[in-house]
């Protein structure tokens, strides 16, 4: 059971063990369950802003988060990267506190939901404007190079199919390539940008066709296949870490929910839903682990229950914490004392 899986990909430095797959599955499941919880809280009117979940994106997202090393690497997640955040080491409380507006959260109520981060721990806090993270992570990596401490470090970020249309993304990725930075960029191609299908965002056959045009190494991966995700991402991260320069990964899968919890996604093509692309990677992973004997229904139920308890606790704690107090808040946009 602990024998390393043999996987087809070349150039792979690390073998993916079944334990590794199982660990990753736990993170993905935890992410799904946490976001389901946010979704119900949203429907109950208990969340202050919007809720954008990563249903379908857990495997590729979690794989990137899992392959990056907190304390060494940089990670700039995007809106559907709850799984990657958990895998990278973000606490459940950071998440629940931010969604629920606790003043004890990393954003202290000043920003919400998916915008949270702990920049001093290598976890960047995104802004809404798509495409801006590739250059920010590049800047962190360039500063490591200047300090002479880049060796062995990697930066990772994610972008949607829609986000690839932004000029900011192009500039950031191109710059990373020019600087030969150890940046791993995951294109989470979930077939839609809000309601817009891929045909409205790009005219190439596959987005990974752009890797060559940037001078990056590029990989396609089935985002519903847990082993493939781990394999391709760990390979790319290893290659970046070893000095092979920036890596582009395109993962294909379907967004299994609306754009946000307010959206019923009526526009999603039924044919895609029915295809392999539309399958639920989490179900696939569960089946795989059951086949391999790593999981049975009892074990799954135990896992589920323990995760549920953890989540419940983190939600409950955030809910009982104080809101920010506008009269005690330090209303200053500058950290310098100039006035």
């Amino acid at each position: 059971m602990s024998a390393p899986l043999t996987l087809p990909l070349q150039n792979r430095n690390q073998a993916i063990s079944l334990e590794g797959v199982y660990a990753m599955y736990k993170v993905a499941l935890k992410s799904r369950m946490l976001e389901n919880k946010f979704s119900s809280l949203y429907k109950a009117g208990k969340i202050l802003g919007g809720v954008y979940v990563g249903n379908g994106q857990e495997l590729i997202s979690g794989a990137l988060g899992a392959c990056l090393r907190k304390g060494t690497d940089y990670y700039a997640p995007l809106i559907r990267d709850q799984a990657g955040r958990l895998a990278f080491g973000e606490s459940l409380l950071d998440s629940t506190r931010t969604y629920l507006g606790s003043v004890k959260g990393p954003m202290r109520g000043r920003d919400g939901n998916v915008h949270r981060g702990r920049p001093k721990e290598g976890l960047f806090a995104m802004i809404s404007h798509l495409g801006t993270t590739a250059s920010v992570v590049s800047g962190a990596l360039m500063s490591e190079r200047i300090k002479g401490t880049l060796k062995g470090k990697v930066g990772g970020t994610c972008i949607g199919d829609g986000g690839t249309s932004t000029g900011a993304f192009h500039e950031g990725v191109n710059l990373a390539a020019v600087e030969k930075l150890p940046l791993v960029v995951v294109i989470a191609n979930n077939q839609y940008a809000y309601s817009t299908p891929n045909s409205g965002q790009y005219a190439c056959e596959k987005l990974i066709d752009r890797a060559k045009g940037y001078g990056m190494e590029g990989y396609s991966v089935d985002g519903t296949d847990i082993v493939a995700c781990l394999d391709v991402v760990s390979n790319a991260v290893d290659r970046a870490r070893d000095g092979a320069g920036p890596q582009l990964i395109e993962a294909n899968f379907l967004r299994l929910s609306g754009h946000g919890e307010h959206d019923d996604a009526f526009y999603v093509d039924e044919a895609i839903k029915q295809s392999k692309l539309g399958s639920d990677g989490l179900v696939n992973a569960k089946n795989f682990l059951m086949e391999k004997g790593m999981l049975d229904e009892k074990k799954y139920q135990d896992l589920h229950d323990s995760l549920q308890a953890e989540i419940q606790e983190a939600v409950a704690q955030a809910q009982q914490e104080p809101d920010p107090d506008p009269f005690k808040d330090d209303w200053r946009a500058l950290s310098s004392n100039l006035v």
Partner: protein
């Protein structure tokens, strides 16, 4: 048969499309989906070739509008949120806005900016950008505060030969409701006296018009102050004459805006008031804006960050006792 502010915007666009073949709408998710706020719902079906989904490319979306406008069309660009227009900023302020002056060829395009704060929207889905765009020569900037203005101003914006930045306030979208669309009562370049009074004037625009009226009502109730409220409606150019006429009646003025406090419309109005109406003033003009920080996500912070009827009334008390 009722109508909301957002429905007025939809209806105006529908009629623009129906009446003028050179009008088209371009924006993210505005086709089948009907737009993030449903301002174009159903329009793709009626005008399949003229309601077009755009990629997430704000810079290029504005570029498209410029090329089309030069070529005789009257494009309407929907930004999904005003905040994202910063990505198309360069094309707006340096390309669209300068084109007429540089070449003599006008650029009749309208950029719709879903603007302003709503609770829980945070720093990047709540911004007011009218001050930024007004700074640049070559742009007309509209900030409708009523259902009728939303409708009539948009229809005129689309027909105007210049680039118009049309700031529609998200908070008003469904909050403003009426039985039916009223008649137009003023040319779009005239400010409107929304509430007449004699002790002081509040000059404002967009959603803050309603907060100002609430504050004025409260002050009436509280201590019988009669506060006049002037809605600028269009913030560039400004109808300063109506503002000055009001101050001639009241002698005191608060200029109010939802946006950031530094520079911008509010400061510009004060500048114009003191330039031409200094002698009319019985007290120093006061101003009120949001705080000078990014817009906070948490509703408790947000509602202190922006002006409220309470903070407006407090500013008015100070003004009246000066």
């Amino acid at each position: 048969m009722s109508i909301t502010y957002i429905e007025a915007i939809k209806q105006a666009q529908d009629e623009c499309l129906a009446e003028d073949d050179s009008v088209f709408i371009y924006g993210q998710d505005i086709g089948n989906f009907g737009g993030a706020f449903k301002a174009t719902q159903g329009l793709k079906k009626k005008y399949p070739d003229r309601v077009l989904d755009a990629p997430i490319s704000e810079d290029a979306m504005i570029g498209v509008a410029i090329g089309a406008a030069i070529n005789g069309m009257k494009p309407i660009i929907e930004m999904q949120f005003a905040d994202f227009s910063t990505v198309g900023f360069n094309q707006i302020v340096n390309n669209a806005a300068t084109h007429y002056f540089r070449t003599g060829v006008p650029v009749p395009m309208t950029v719709r900016l879903p603007s302003g704060g709503t609770p829980g929207s945070g720093p990047f889905h709540s911004q007011c950008l009218e001050s930024i765009y007004s700074h640049y020569p070559g742009l007309v900037v509209m900030t409708p505060a009523t259902i009728e203005d939303a409708y009539y101003m948009l229809k005129e914006a689309v027909q105007m030969p210049d680039p118009v930045i049309y700031c529609e306030h998200k908070f008003l979208y469904r909050w403003l409701k009426a039985d039916k669309l009223g008649e137009p009562d003023l040319p779009i370049n005239k400010a409107r006296v929304v509430r007449s009074g004699k002790h002081a004037t509040i000059v404002t625009y967009s959603a803050m018009v309603h907060e100002a009226v609430r504050a004025a009502d409260a002050l009436k109730e509280e201590s019988d102050w009669d506060i006049e409220v002037v809605d600028l409606r269009m913030v560039k150019p400004i109808d300063i004459d109506t503002v000055l006429a009001s101050i001639a009646r009241t002698g005191r003025v608060l200029v109010l805006g939802e946006g950031f406090p530094w520079g911008g419309i509010v400061a510009e109005v004060v500048k114009q008031i003191v330039a031409d109406g200094f002698h009319l003033l019985d007290a120093a003009p006061k101003t009120l804006n949001s705080k000078d920080t990014p817009i906070p996500f948490h509703p408790k912070l947000w509602s202190t960050h922006r002006p409220t009827p309470q903070s407006i009334a407090q500013a008015m008390r100070e003004l009246l006792h000066q």
